[in-house]
Symmetry: C2
Subunit: 403 residues, 2 copies
């Protein structure tokens, strides 16, 4: 079935769902708006935000009849105001306006602002107690305990958009959570899956940026090459799903077709698969608890021929081991992990350090942080941001030693 | 996790579930009782039945504290009575007693009597309006419309035990049924998957009995070699799941790890996998809607290394095409298909006809039946049995022509 006309989704929701998108001009935001445009009767757009792309944001806001458009960078306000002139769309700018957009009443919010910049707006959206689809990793990696407390207090329905976590969400059935034995996130293994340690020593930036299956931003592409990305996803999964730390695992699956496997106590394994296309998990979050038609390439296993699997190698890809250790430690360890990793990936992207130094330096920073502010646990988002700042300072000092 | 002690299932059901097993001395019955014995506080055994194995049945009935034991063959009554002497277990024999056992109040019934002999007791069990786990294919293949009407009228929860249908049941999530695009049953391809048509002409009984992954009865092993088994499963799936005939497909998957894939309108595919062990789907049906621990080998995809897939070849395996045609025709076509197939598989098992003649003869009988009693649709089980009888007579005459 490959025509939208065959499955028009006229009744995805009984009455239109009021939606806001934080990070509307990015890839996830764009796909979300594409799906919304295919079901105009099912969605009303409340607020759209962008970082600096005022013209792109204004175009989307007018096209989708948004009530409010917010650009985070205040210096872009005039451009936004101009582009929206006469449209009837309200314009605003700055971090306060971003928080206001996140807090404007809506039934469903997509939090797709990546990095630390997404933390406050995503927290604000979580406080609404509505459906929160999110593509921001930092909420769970850096601020997992605090974020999940916020979500629980507001009774927010959290809908992960990341393909592995959406897959887990879909493969967890209605049986009691104590029947889950293990959740296994798959990893492509990245461009260096088959490289020896000797080869990895000489890996260049250009080598690391060649991801086999997905086209993504530069930071996450490097995280995929080090496999830190999968380590961060393990930490996210721990917060999202009703399992203990030792019930989470990683499996190398180079074709990236199966995104997650959930193993049950009766020996059954439920897995979610799809062609690598973010519109599938986005559509799932947008229509949940129903499903909607999405214009993605359908999976053809006979054409693919085979799916292959390998155990991960935590010696060659030590980021995976470090992330596991951070998860096991709890407290501020994941916050430090995330901050240090950002610093050293940025340094690698500027070709200031070698590929293997990313994980070595993260590990060294984590050891220093443990001696420094060790078991310190964050109670509020501000605590998290303070730890994050301290960790970045430690990482920057570490960088000065090695770069 | 490989120790029952770690997951004792003390609370599989809030109060003990009263269970009966029709076909207790067979493989499915034995596995069911093994799982029940691991959770004695969760189940009370009401009735157990067997065909002729009176001594085996008596042993099981005493061991599991059954209230009633019934042997279908009346000539085995004395043996059963003797074996149960002093045990307090009630003994009975004959087809009437079998129906009585199926109708004795229970919360969950396993209908595991295979072939036409299982029809009446399974129907009787379905009338109770309780949980009906079933491994009898004929109810759905031969008598699908009538059986599903019986199930709907009694509001019975039907729990398929066949691995492919249990997999579909598990992979169908709670989203509306119109979001399912396709249900794909996997097939190992059997021992002749890679054989040419020329080789198939010379296939012997011994060749056909070598199934690559499962150890099963002789009839079903031959059905697996012709792929009629998968054709019959397509017909069952049509009755069990909310899809149209053209939304059902077959995929060759030699490792038999993925049992079924359910494709959704957003491009997501949910699949159920397990090591090939019937205890997994049996445990699923026994604990449903919860899950229970089962002593099966856990799936290790890294160890398996690969899963492969091919499109089915309906030219070499014409049984698959014939079954699809019977499903498309509706009415009595599937009843005739099943009856004729039984006659010709029996003839092949006696080495009276060649391997390719099984499907050729089934096709010829179906054409004759269509000219004879064509679109005739069964309203009651007796109608089905009458059509079944006529079809067997036609098939037997066909056999006289070719054998």
């Amino acid at each position: 079935m490959d025509s939208a006309a065959l499955m028009p989704n006229l009744d995805v929701h009984a009455s239109p769902r009021r939606v806001s998108i934080l990070g509307a001009t990015g890839s996830v935001g764009g796909s979300t708006l594409d799906l919304i445009a295919r079901n105009p009767q099912a969605y009303d757009v409340v607020a759209l935000t962008a970082n600096t792309n005022a013209v792109g944001l204004a175009k989307l806001a007018i096209e989708h009849g948004a009530g409010l458009a917010v650009v985070a960078d205040e210096s872009c306000y005039a451009d936004l105001k101009d582009a929206l002139a006469g449209s009837g769309v309200e314009a605003a700018a700055g971090s306060g306006a971003l928080i206001e957009a996140a807090g404007r009443p809506a039934d469903w919010i997509m939090a797709a602002i990546s990095g630390a910049a997404g933390l406050r707006p995503t927290f604000e959206a979580a406080r609404q107690g509505t459906h929160l689809a999110f593509a921001n990793k930092e909420c769970l990696v850096s601020a997992g305990d605090v974020f999940m407390q916020t979500v629980a207090a507001a009774q927010t329905s959290l809908l992960p958009v990341d393909s592995e976590h959406s897959a887990a969400f879909q493969a967890i059935d209605s049986s009691p959570s104590d029947s889950i034995e293990r959740i296994v996130l798959t990893a492509s293994g990245g461009p260096f899956r088959t490289w020896s340690h000797e080869q990895l020593k000489r890996a260049t930036l250009a080598d690391a940026l060649k991801h086999p299956n997905w086209t993504m931003g530069r930071k996450i592409t490097i995280d995929s090459a080090t496999m830190m990305n999968k380590g961060l996803e393990l930490i996210e999964a721990y917060h999202l799903f009703p399992v203990e730390r030792d019930q989470l695992d990683v499996l190398i699956h180079p074709q990236s077709i199966i995104h997650c496997l959930v193993e049950y106590s009766d020996g059954s394994v439920l897995a979610q698969m799809s062609s690598p296309d973010m519109r599938t998990p986005i559509a799932y979050s947008l229509a949940w608890p129903r499903r909607m038609w999405a214009p993605t390439e359908r999976l053809d296993l006979a054409k693919l021929g085979e799916l292959t699997f390998e155990a991960p190698d935590e010696t060659r890809f030590k980021a995976l081991r470090i992330a596991r250790e951070a998860l096991a430690k709890g407290g501020s360890a994941s916050t430090v992990l995330n901050a240090a990793n950002e610093v050293f990936v940025a340094a690698f992207l500027k070709e200031e350090i070698g590929f293997l130094s990313i994980s070595d330096c993260v590990e060294a920073t984590m050891e220093q942080a443990e001696r420094g502010f060790g078991g310190q646990a964050a109670v509020t988002l501000d605590d998290v941001l303070e730890i994050d700042k301290e960790a970045r300072a430690l990482a920057t000092r570490q960088l000065e030693l090695v770069a």
